[in-house]
Symmetry: C2
Subunit: 335 residues, 2 copies
């Protein structure tokens, strides 16, 4: 199956320059067709900077843009021709099999949900984000789509996360944990306590390993961590905040002494390797799981490298048939 | 007012050795009287290692110990003579004005609540923890005492946190934020939405600055961050987990190359300064706020340096009259 990816060229802090550049890089490196959606003259101006002769890049016109600070619901009602809406529409029509968007997360979620619909048996789509650990990355979901959840939803998140990891990253029998404030059963709030009881009964189809605390999550003990979207989004941003703080504090301490500067310069390759391992750009974006289609949501600050990786993630999610696997695993776990 | 601090000598991974050592260091450095509570022969054996001639250290007998993995409620019912119970009792009787405990957090909370009682107008005590930021530390509460909260409780947390920071750390007019998943009013779950409306009305007495996201929290924009104990505890542990992961990844990258090792060695003073700035041992422990008395809860892994700092925090909390300030600020904010 040949995969084409539709990219919202107008979304994100560095749109359209970095988005177009990322799409060009992806089309070249992975040899896949790409649709760029947005204001044609702007996209053409950016495309003109590159040699795109042998690349399969199609432009799709959309004259409106939804800003990062607009309320998604009303913006979608007002701007029928917004780039994110037209991007989703390309997937709905079958012109592309997946979309990538780095603009407003809320708008991308709402547009995908309305334009593509939910998968059968899934009550609410969730955002899955890969976080670095000392070992392989851990997928946390929901990372922000649903700020209040029911236990049944967390069970569905476990199904979706587990399917994604085996379909796309080739993780065998992914270990699923509940993000909690203690390891023992019975810890935490009613949501996680009830989720525990549900997942415990699904151990034949889900590799449920119990509660996982915030510390252990980063040690690589677990492949999928489920939580409500409020806790997940806080976790995601705290992770980014702490990593940034540690780097900045190190930089400011190093800058206080010439000797330390020299030391840091010598150790720079090691520092760069560490930075690469903890860099969210390596995965390119979050996956909106639970919709009929593939939607990768890039960080608002995405540059070309992140967009290229987001397109790769979208392509691999289609090829791995994430959605087919979700439906299959759900059926299996129900019996 | 001369302050005496009662220390549970038997609580924590390194009890009693490191606890006794920390108490000796504190008694010497801050010239304050200390009570050490626990098994007398064990405490005496540890004390024998130091010159305590001029120190005011009193031993108090308690023959039982509550382990880290015991359920607090039933353990307290069964072990009437547990070290944490007797430690709290010393404060209840007025023999000490504050206590320090590094054993089971749940047991320390429950024993303090039963033995000392709640402050007037405070529904539920909360755990406040100082987290490092790029600027001054931020106090997060509740960091784990209440895994489900009402908006009124978060308002009380704001009162308690604000009072603590001005009374003990000398922060003038502490900036209070709500930990949330977006900056705008209306973001998040019902709990934080309703808390926003309460705090907005208290701006004459509380310096409420609105919602704060996990990323901004570490930039030092805010002095107090309120949240429910589930979110707070996850945040605390994620912070520890990410900081640890970054350091470990750096160490493992450095160990791959001799040159990087040399560089890291040269830059070591800068690394150590950064580590010190992000080290929880610098504050020694968490404060259980909202009880009639002062209770500092140390990390289970506390060593002597952390215990010494926890005793300092306990002493300064008494001297700063945290509890008096909480009651005063509550009265002011009600009118």
């Amino acid at each position: 199956m040949s995969v084409r990816v539709a990219v919202d060229a107008m979304g994100g802090d560095h749109a359209p320059e970095e988005i177009v550049k990322g799409a060009v890089l992806a089309a070249r490196e992975y040899n896949i067709p790409v649709q760029l959606v947005g204001k044609l003259e702007k996209i053409r101006a950016e495309l003109g900077k590159y040699n795109t002769k042998d690349l399969d890049i199609e432009l799709v016109r959309a004259d409106e843009v939804i800003g990062m600070d607009e309320a998604p619901g009303s913006a979608l009602r007002k701007k029928k021709n917004a780039s994110i809406v037209v991007t989703v529409d390309q997937v709905a029509k079958g012109n592309s099999q997946a979309l990538v968007a780095a603009g407003s997360t809320g708008a991308a979620m709402a547009a995908s949900l309305f334009g593509l619909g939910r998968l059968p048996n899934i009550d609410r789509p969730a955002i899955g984000v890969l976080l670095p650990t000392m070992d392989k990355p851990v997928l946390i979901l929901d990372a922000g789509a649903n700020s209040a959840c029911e236990p049944e939803m967390l069970y569905q998140f476990a199904i979706m996360g587990s399917s994604f990891l085996s379909a796309v990253l080739g993780v065998e029998n992914p270990r699923v944990g509940i993000l909690n404030i203690g390891g023992e059963q019975g810890k935490g709030n009613p949501l996680v306590q009830q989720t525990y009881r549900i997942l415990e009964e699904k151990q034949e189809t889900l590799n449920f390993i119990g509660n996982v605390e915030g510390r252990e999550m980063f040690m690589g003990y677990c492949d999928v961590v489920v939580c409500d979207g409020f806790v997940g989004n806080v976790t995601l941003k705290v992770t980014e905040g702490v990593a940034k703080m540690v780097m900045e504090l190190f930089r400011s301490e190093v800058n206080k002494s010439l000797l330390a500067k020299i030391g840091a310069l010598i150790a720079k390759p090691a520092l760069m390797n560490m930075k690469k391992k903890t860099d969210s750009d390596e995965y390119g974006g979050a996956l909106l799981l639970g919709i009929k289609g593939i939607c990768v949501i890039g960080h608002g600050s995405s540059k070309a490298y992140a967009i290229k990786n987001a397109i790769k993630l979208a392509k691999e999610s289609v090829e791995g048939d994430v959605n087919g696997k979700i439906s299959k695993l759900y059926e299996l776990s129900r019996t």
